[in-house]
């Protein structure tokens, strides 16, 4: 797509097709001849891994849907029918359920890679936004997918999350009723979630195509953040990137297989093996692990509406990143101070994840009572969430804009090849 196409049709059929629909040329230019920076490290293999995840989810999902019954009366038992009576049904379901977690592991690494190496900066803003759109649809898809087995956590998770919309002034309750298709999470909610859960992955696939298109227009970023200047800075996608991506995918599949075959329920919640019961509220409603940091941010704010706004704001910050960061240097390799703030950002996200899984009023250090601030003792998970939430937003809204103007970056190399062919830099 970028630059001149070198594709040479070899057979008569290829020539015939190339004059009518140059689709082989498109594939050749995008995945064979496409120039990739020669210094990409393994953090760059997660794009390929993500495509693999999407493929796995779509294929297993379509087969699951052949056996699944989207009704409040039948859903739970149909999933158990898949687990017990469908040939390799247990495999399909465990692949799909754990595949969602694998997908999120990969997407988080992929996004953090982008933050560290400044992959969102000009001219890659649209590429970054498209990635954020994929992430947003992924969250919607996974949330609705988790409702489908219609266990206790499916039902109560759906109830808690859909209820958030009722915090919107005036129209909130009407929107919630509209989302539910009734006055509570029920059969109609389950049916629409199934319909959307089937639809959204294909929308993701569509946005992935745009994402890759945008990528191939501007080219890949690389660990130096310096754009390739000459042919010696790049290598053709095939075989160099294909074989490296393939190796990384294979390692990723090993991790995936360990989950599927040896700990298939470790990422799920036991309560979801009890059928949904609107009359019995589980003592502790928790979302899937990949939503926990946002759940912690939601609960960190004492006011429901503000909590919801904070949660969506946390995602909005990621979208706005290209315009929040003022640094001219892309890669944090040359931004030692930015690296420290980035490290604390990672810590804050992990802590938020932990807080999301705990009861807000539980003590962080057991048995220690400190000072009571506003509504809770300081030694509680809610206060830990608040501190981390504060850092989360400060990172985007204060550190990113200010640091770029005040810091002294290290000297950056002229070209990609100069540091890599010369002295080795670490990381």
């Amino acid at each position: 797509m970028s630059g001149h196409s070198t594709y040479q049709p070899k057979t008569g059929f290829e020539r015939w097709l190339d004059a009518r629909l140059p689709i082989i040329r498109l594939g050749h230019d995008s995945f064979v001849d496409y120039p990739t920076p020669r210094n990409l490290n393994y953090w760059w293999t997660f794009g390929g891994i993500l495509s693999l995840c999407l493929g796995v989810q779509i294929i297993t999902g379509i087969v699951l849907a052949m056996h699944y019954t989207p009704s409040a009366a039948g859903a739970f038992n149909s999933v158990e029918h898949i687990m017990r009576d469908v040939n390799y049904g247990w495999l399909l379901r465990y692949m799909h359920a754990n595949g969602a977690s694998m997908f999120f592991i990969a997407v988080y690494i992929h996004m953090l890679r982008g933050v560290y190496y400044g992959s969102y900066k000009a001219p890659r803003e649209v590429l970054w936004i498209l990635g954020c759109v994929i992430y947003l649809i992924m969250m919607a898809t996974a949330f609705m997918g988790y409702v489908l087995p219609w266990g206790q956590m499916s039902f109560w998770g759906a109830t808690v999350i859909t209820n958030l919309f009722s915090a919107i002034p005036v129209v909130g309750p009407a929107i919630t009723t509209w989302l539910w298709g009734g006055f509570a999470v029920d059969n109609s909610t389950l049916n629409r979630f199934f319909s959307l859960h089937y639809l959204l992955p294909f929308m993701i696939a569509g946005v992935v195509i745009l994402h890759v298109w945008a990528l191939h227009v501007v080219g890949q970023n690389n660990p130096t953040g310096i754009d390739p200047k000459s042919k010696s800075d790049t290598l053709p996608f095939t075989p160099y990137a294909t074989v490296k991506d393939g190796f990384a995918m294979s390692l990723f599949l090993i991790l995936f297989a360990v989950f599927i075959f040896y700990m298939p329920d470790s990422l799920g919640h036991p309560d979801n093996y009890t059928p949904a019961n609107p009359m019995v509220t589980p003592p502790h409603i928790v979302p899937e692990w990949y939503f926990l940091p946002f759940y912690a941010i939601l609960r960190a704010v004492p006011d429901k509406l503000m909590g919801v706004l904070a949660m969506f704001g946390a995602i909005a910050c990621i979208f706005a990143l290209p315009w929040l960061d003022t640094s001219k240097v892309k890669s944090m390799r040359y931004r030692p101070q930015a690296r420290i703030y980035f490290f604390f950002f990672l810590v804050a996200c992990v802590i938020l994840g932990f807080c999301g899984a705990k009861l807000p009023d539980a003590q962080v250090i057991p048995g220690l009572t400190t000072v009571f601030v506003i509504d809770y003792d300081l030694n509680t998970f809610v206060w830990l969430s608040r501190l981390s939430t504060l850092y989360y937003f400060a990172y985007f809204l204060v550190v990113m804009p200010v640091l770029g103007l005040t810091e002294k970056p290290l000297p950056t190399p002229e070209t990609i090849s100069s540091p890599v062919l010369g002295v080795e830099t670490k990381d």
Partner: protein, 280 residues
């Protein structure tokens, strides 16, 4: 600086991990089940004993709606016999099914009838409906046991500890009528405790009476029928009903992992070869 922060974060996470909830509960006992670990398998004799405990004791109150008699003869199941790859032909399974009465509709008259079970039938439920189950159990319906081992934190170890763990309630604890004290059952007994509040007994009140007594079930393989033995055997059986494909899963996982490791090795070799002349 960074290292110090990492240590601090790690310390916070470690301390934060086992945060105590207000109400305490006794941790399930450590039980070495045969099916634990990547190569663990069900012990068929134990599954047979466990099935007997379920059928003779628990099934008086608890349904098991997801399991059919034919499943007993599936590979990995209590009565699997390689001579009968189709469990519907397995004579033990047929006999066990035929020994039950299943509600059905007479095709000629439309009357509700009872007929002997066949392997395709699901296990019969003890109560006609949830209301009947509640009415007979002091207002709390006994949960379906098909998936219970996966639906409870602690799984089979919790179940074995719970059903063998009743014992006499400590002095100073008033047990409400119709309920039973059990240290393994999550709950909060502090309102009924007259003793020292720093030492409130762990656990809660459960609507199930202690179901097991010694020698209540006679094991066909001569195993001594202690409460502990019955509890562990039925817990193993409940793990099997919750996860009947576990052996198949682990077995396939082993081949898949061997394949993936070899495949990764090959890909790594190709990667080294392709990139051998390119510095990067």
């Amino acid at each position: 600086m960074l290292r110090k922060v990492t240590l601090l974060a790690a310390a916070l996470v470690l301390v934060g991990g086992p945060a105590l909830a207000a109400a305490k509960v006794r941790e399930p006992n450590e039980i070495a089940f045969s099916f634990e670990g990547p190569f663990g398998r069900y012990d068929q004799a134990q599954l047979q004993r466990g099935y007997k405990v379920y059928r003779e004791v628990c099934s008086a109150c608890h349904s098991m709606n997801l399991v059919a008699f034919r499943n007993l003869g599936d590979a990995g199941g209590p009565f699997f016999d390689p001579k009968y790859p189709n469990p519907n032909d397995n004579p033990v399974v047929k006999a066990l099914a035929a020994d039950t009465q299943i509600g059905d509709i007479d095709g000629e008259t439309g009357d509700a009838i009872k007929r002997p079970g066949i392997p395709a039938d699901k296990f019969p439920a003890p109560f006609a409906n949830d209301a009947a189950a509640k009415a007979s159990n002091g207002g709390v319906a006994p949960p379906d046991l098909s998936l219970i081992a996966k639906a409870r934190e602690g799984g089979p170890a919790y179940i074995a500890s719970l059903i063998a763990g009743f014992g006499t309630p400590p002095a100073g604890l008033t047990v409400p009528a119709g309920l039973n004290y059990n240290p393994y059952f999550p709950g909060d007994v502090s309102a009924n405790w007259t003793g020292d509040h720093a030492h409130t007994p762990p656990g809660g009140f459960i609507a199930m009476a202690p179901p097991l007594t010694a020698d209540q079930v006679t094991f066909d393989d001569g195993t001594k029928s202690t409460i502990k033995q019955q509890a562990e055997d039925v817990a193993a059986f409940l793990m099997w009903t919750a996860e009947p494909k576990m052996e198949e899963r682990k077995h396939m996982g082993f081949s898949v992992l061997i394949f993936l490791i070899l495949f990764s090795g090959l890909l790594y070799a190709s990667y080294r070869r392709v990139w051998r002349d390119e510095s990067h």
